[in-house]
């Protein structure tokens, strides 16, 4: 296990180095002078020069890469072209909102998807199984932004019972939750269906296993057999899928934030792309990438912890 963890960490380290190098070089791809592009043709030359200097653009390319790494290690991702605020502080303000959105939809997906899958598996062919089969397929194929637009149309425009846009303030939890509800549901919709399907399939397989029959033969209560003995084994293969999918979830969160004009990393990156605010785009994408890598690392370890068989093999 330790050996495996070490190998995995080394691999992750190289992935992060690669991503950062790529991001440091990204500005080279912008045609013309990126600073001039943002500040406009009329900006005074001294200002342009000083911004170029702050961004190390007056240095040779390898030095640019070096400074990006060195500063990032100290938590310095540059400054916003416009407000001159540090990118790190902008990201720190946005990040909690994205994290809350992602976690809320994941929780929603787990709380609804898993029981739905278990129920469908324990009552195969029943009416709920058939309804969920149709519903889940439509849910799986619905992208978060379509779900988001539909929810907006129904709850905010037609019935006007939910706020259409905005974030609310964390100091007013009730209002914050109200603003969170629709985006979280929009993001979770695909996952409810996906999880339900995954759990159903692996649950049906596990319920056929000899150890389930053996547990029943010992007179162990059905609820214990299904929710303890079968579910743990059925969930193991889904953990890996959910882990990989968390990355997709982060991506979806960006779309959803834009649709609902909700504060967060996605909104931050989106706005900065509009204004060609390069340091923020670079910093934002880096943080999203780091999150992605961290989540994958974490799922891998969780997966190894839950399944004792893998623990030994690796």
């Amino acid at each position: 296990m330790l050996d495996y963890a070490l190998r995995r960490l080394v691999m992750t380290f190289f992935v992060v180095v690669l991503i950062m190098t790529f991001l440091a070089l990204l500005i080279q791809l912008v045609p013309g002078d990126p600073v001039r592009l943002v500040l406009g043709a009329k900006a005074p030359e001294e200002l342009v020069q000083s911004v170029r200097h702050d961004m190390y653009l007056d240095k040779p390319v390898p030095a640019q890469v070096y400074y990006f790494f060195a500063n990032a290690l100290h938590g310095d991702l540059g400054v916003d072209f416009q407000s001159q605020r540090s990118v790190t502080s902008l990201i720190w303000t946005a990040l909690p909102h994205t994290a809350i959105l992602a976690l809320a939809s994941l929780a929603l997906a787990g709380l609804l998807g898993v029981p739905l899958g278990v129920y469908a598996a324990t009552h195969p062919g029943g009416w709920l199984d058939r309804v969920t089969a149709v519903a889940t397929i439509s849910l799986i194929t619905m992208p978060a932004y379509v779900a988001g637009l539909l929810l907006l149309l129904v709850f905010s425009v037609h019935w006007s019972i939910m706020p259409a846009t905005g974030t609310g303030n964390l100091s007013n939890p009730a209002d914050y939750l109200k603003h969170l509800a629709l985006p979280a549901i929009a993001l979770a919709v695909t996952w409810i269906g996906y999880l339900a399907r995954l759990v159903r399939t692996s649950m049906l397989e596990v319920l056929n296993e000899r150890y389930i029959m053996a547990a029943r033969s010992q007179g162990i209560r059905d609820r214990l057999v299904v929710y303890k003995y079968a579910l743990r084994n059925a969930v193991i293969p889904t953990i890996a899928v959910v882990g990989v999918g968390l990355g997709t979830l982060l991506g979806g969160a960006i779309f959803v934030e834009v649709i609902f004009a909700r504060a967060g990393l996605g909104m931050l990156i989106y706005n900065s792309i509009q204004t060609r605010n390069f340091p923020i785009v670079r910093g934002g994408v880096l943080v999203v990438a780091l999150l992605f890598v961290a989540v994958n690392l974490l799922t891998d370890f969780v997966y190894h912890m839950v399944d004792p068989r893998i623990r030994v093999v690796s």
């Binding site: 059905d222 303890k228 068989r309």
Partner: protein
């Protein structure tokens, strides 16, 4: 004599498969009395495990009991609610399944699984420590060394033989009145097999636990069983006292099985190869299922299925013993041309 502990009457089981409906058991009848050890023997695929699973209504989801009755301790198991059936499982009738490698849940420790099995029939008052103690004792009894430490291990950390013994320990936790042991010793080497058989006999003697011992090993059956059911293609073709059947087998199939065993006490013998093949359950011939391989077969054997006939203390399913047939139509008991001992 009192009522039997277990009465199986006319049991019919099918499996629904993509290739069609597969009749796995057909009109199976036998009894197990309190404290008796009854063997079930037959070639692979004849329905032994299906029989064991059907008794507790634990067939795989595509299996279905389509006829017959299973009476246990005076109650028809089909009439029980699922809650009542659960109480019979593990306490009235305990089962050790054929496949010891997959009978334990891979994601929980052996101790956790044993404690759950104990709690299934407990009042919920015993502390975890008491339950763990009892589990350790149960493991020690079936010969698991260092049980107090091993109880914290996961199933994959045990050998196949060890897992088999753990399953037996779990089955014996509640001192059931009937233990179904499906090939309980087949994963073990000869020494361990002897130990487990000794253990089963001890349990039988000390607690009066009746045992339904499923095996393809005639030696094992001869050693521990009082009665035996010989199965062929989902039918009980012969049933009776072990000594009587080993001495004077009636059914041609039983005779062929015994042909390879030098003496009833011979140990470690598996079923001999009998010329010909077991018919596919999906395309069973209309008559006697053994007719294709039987040296005595005559026209009537191919035309219809023989009924199960009482003959002395035995039951046998063969036209050789059907006195209602005109002598001219009857197969002849000319043992010289059949495989087997005269």
């Amino acid at each position: 004599m009192s009522d039997p502990l277990l009465t199986v009457a006319g049991l019919e089981v099918v499996y629904h498969t993509d290739a069609g409906t597969l009749p796995a058991l057909s009109d199976v009848c036998f009894e197990v009395r309190e404290g008796q050890i009854v063997g079930v023997v037959g070639e692979s695929g004849c329905g032994k495990s299906t029989l064991g699973a059907a008794l507790l209504r634990l067939l795989s989801p595509n299996g279905e009991i389509v006829g017959g009755r299973v009476m246990f301790a005076g109650r028809d198991l089909a009439s029980l609610s699922s809650g009542e059936l659960r109480k019979v499982r593990g306490r009235g009738i305990a089962t050790v399944f054929q496949d010891p490698l997959t009978s334990l849940n891979p994601t929980f420790t052996v101790g956790q699984q044993m404690i759950d099995a104990e709690r299934a029939h407990g009042q919920g008052r015993e502390s975890k420590d008491v339950l763990r103690r009892r589990a350790i004792d149960a493991l020690t009894r079936v010969g698991i060394p260092d049980a107090a430490r091993r109880i914290r291990n996961h199933p994959h950390e045990f050998s196949g033989g060890m897992r088999q013994r753990i399953m037996i320990a779990i089955a014996l936790l509640h001192e059931p009145s009937l233990l179904i042991a499906d090939e309980a010793t087949s994963a073990l080497d000869v020494t361990l097999e002897a130990q487990i058989l000794k253990l089963l006999k001890e349990i039988n003697a000390s607690h009066g636990t009746a045992i339904l011992l499923i095996s393809h090993n005639l030696g094992v059956i001869a050693e521990v069983c009082e009665r035996v059911v010989v199965m062929y293609a989902g039918r009980a073709v012969e049933e009776g006292d072990v000594y009587a059947i080993f001495d004077r087998p009636l059914h041609p199939y039983t005779r062929a099985l015994l042909a390879a065993v030098p003496s009833p006490q011979h140990r470690g013998t598996t079923l001999a190869a009998i010329p010909g093949r077991v018919p596919s359950l999906l395309a069973l011939p209309p008559g006697c299922k053994y007719a294709d391989r039987c040296a005595h077969a005559v026209a009537v054997c191919f035309a219809r299925e023989p009924a199960s006939l009482a003959r002395g203390g035995l039951r046998v399913r063969c036209f050789l013993y059907d006195d209602s047939l005109p002598a001219a139509d009857k197969p002849r008991a000319d043992w010289a041309k059949a495989p087997g001992r005269a």
